[in-house]
Amino acid sequence: MQQEKYAQIEKELSPKPPILKNVIRAFLTGGLICLVGQFIALFYITYFDFTERTASNPTVATMIFIAMLLTGFGLYKKISQFGGAGAAVPITGFGNAVVSAAIEHKSEGYVLGVGGNMFKLAGSVILFGVFSAFVVALIKTILVKFGVVSW
């Protein structure tokens, strides 16, 4: 009873988050990041021997590199504060999570500090990313075996 009452009071008192504003900001920020990524992919396709399919790897690497520099100079923080999920969901958010954790724990030494804490946030992304890729590949393998779809 007490808990329910508390939850009700808390709900009444806490300010409502501006959902629509946040959504629009996330849309614009995420869209801009993807636009930059598209330009980089086009650059690799035009000036190097990459096709649309193979250009994604160097593009991702470049985007993470840019995010790393922005994190180091303290600019990515401002982008995330404005964009929210729009800055966290693309691959740049992943790069930011790795690098900011590394910077934060640098004072504890390179092995136990940087090495031990670098993937504190990004580790779960890697774990569940690999696991869900495994599940999807398993489902696709079964479907191909039964002849529903083809590779």
Binding site: I45, D49, F50, T51, E52, T54, A55
Partner: protein
């Protein structure tokens, strides 16, 4: 004036500008009309650049925006039809924009000196998986 220019920019961005149709360069004695017929019969194709050189047929295609999810199957479909029309040619069809770009470069290029080398190069990067 300012409003008008903003309106023009927005209209330009929304409509975009892209070429349409089929461009064929034929350096062989093969009949090229059925290439055009096969490609134009597919309603998903927006732009196609085709090069016929010796025993090679290289085709780069661009599909409509909303057909992009099926672009691979569209390309294989066209390839199969072309193979039926020209059984003695080595046919490469790709919906990848890189192939379109390189085929266009080859078509514009003067002289047929290192065509074979360039075509082999395009075919090898088209096959790359990762």
């Amino acid at each position: 004036m300012k409003k008008l220019s903003i309106l023009l920019i927005i209209l330009g961005l929304l409509t975009g500008c892209s070429e349409k149709g089929t461009y064929i360069k034929n350096t062989t004695s093969q009949d090229e009309n059925s290439v055009e017929k096969v490609i134009m019969n597919n309603e998903h194709v927006k732009l196609a650049k085709v090069l016929l050189f010796e025993d090679e047929l290289l085709a780069g295609i661009r599909v409509n925006t909303f057909s992009r999810f099926q672009k691979k199957s569209i390309a294989t479909d066209i390839k199969k039809k072309l193979e039926k029309e020209y059984p003695d040619l080595k046919i490469t069809v790709s919906a990848d924009s890189k192939i379109l770009l390189e085929t266009e470069k080859l078509i514009r290029k003067k002289g047929e000196k290192d065509y074979q080398k360039k075509i082999d190069k395009i075919k090898s990067i088209e096959k790359e998986q990762t």
